[in-house]
């Protein structure tokens, strides 16, 4: 409990009085109910659980804490120059068909 994934709002619509939208997750788009995030606008990120946006992603908060983590990560990289043999982050293949 509880699978909630961050995605970006790419469209908004009113479906019979219910605030709905399309949210994009890494190139895949799904219909999501946005009734519980009335403040969210096109382009914003939300956490989606069971087809509902349950919270906006606070981008400032994410940036702030991530910066801290990044700095920590850079420290680690400086320390571990020899590093892990051969296990770097590989390229993600693009979504163009081969």
């Amino acid at each position: 409990m509880c699978l909630g994934i961050p995605g970006q709002v790419v469209s908004l619509e009113d479906a019979g009085g219910l605030r709905m939208g399309k949210v994009q997750f890494g190139g895949v788009v799904r219909e999501v109910c946005l009734e519980y995030v009335p403040e969210v606008a096109l382009g914003d990120y939300v956490i989606v659980h069971a087809g509902f946006a349950i919270s906006p992603v606070d981008e400032e908060e994410a940036a702030r804490t991530y910066q801290l983590l990044e700095e920590m990560g850079q420290l680690t990289e400086l320390e571990e120059t020899a590093a892990d043999p051969g296990f770097g982050q590989g390229d993600r293949p693009s979504d163009k068909p081969s």
């Binding site: 409990m1 997750f25 349950i54 606070d58 983590l69 990044e70 990560g73």
Partner: protein, 377 residues
Amino acid sequence: MKYLDEYRDARVAQELLEQIRGVQKRPWVLMEVCGGQTHSIVKFGIDDLLPGEIELVHGPGCPVCVTPLELIDKAHAIASRPEVIFCSFGDMLRVPGSKCDLLTVKSRGAEVRVVYSPLECLKIARKHPDRQVVFFAIGFETTAPANAMLVWRAKQEGLQNVSVLVSHVLVPPALEAILDSPWNRVQGFLGPGHVCAIMGYREYEEISARYKVPIVITGFEPVDLLEGVLMAVRQLEGGRAEVENQYARAVTRDGNAAARKVVSSVFEVCGRKWRGVGPIPQSGYRLRAEFEAFDAEHRFDVGAIDTQEPAVCISGEVLRGIKKPHDCPAFAKECTPAHPLGATMVSSEGACAAYYLYGRHLKPDNRNAAGKAGQAG
């Protein structure tokens, strides 16, 4: 994927582990509350990477595991009716009742469908006006807003052929039950991130103060979990007991008021029986009187379901963090995901299944097991 990949960064994870090692002086027992957190811990190998003196025990955060046997049996009885289209989240399909699971019920001709969102049931109901659409509304507070919206809209649209079978459970009473137990070993909690996105974390402040335990509201990705552990251990080493919010990008102190408004219009708090644990007062939701017409338990007379909850089952002890899956003599022998004997082996994020799937019983060097062999259960 933005806001996901960053929290799986190996360098950051390694640095957090380094910091944890630096801060930790004494052994500590922490509990992560959510099944999704358990899943992540085991999937990414976090418990293996943590210093041996930090023990993670798995909490009751698996609504699938704790759904009472009678309710599963009722679900099967309802699903077996020819007029019913039974809809459920995928999680519930393999949970055995007294005799079989929903997949077996399906194999006998019942129409059982997996849905991603409860709102799909509205579409199905409109498409099949001659059938009864029943939704298995399980979950913690995180899923209650979604389930509530289904009922709310069904009423608004005047849909006569939709109903829900409710098995909602609440986290704070479960934590209190754990902390009240004389055998409790848990010293700090990684709180349920998505539950708190809805509910906020005020309720946990009260628990933290009363029981003097640190509660760090934590997310679900490896970096979140490691940061949560770091924050909890810092508190414990420093003799503090507060609520902290690791998952600040998604959780605020007051939570989601819009979601809670709909939840409290549709549901009210009630006592619930937790499989493997027993009845806990004020620990669940039921439909309010004005929505009773949508209660599948009333709409379908499924008769008296006679199920026997046994007096003792190790699932309960695992759920409360008193024992670990490999403490159970049947773990990975008689009891496996293919032949589950207990609730925690059934759901893929129940503690025992998570342990089994990610192979803790197979690892030759299981530090946690060895290290804890001498501690009282």
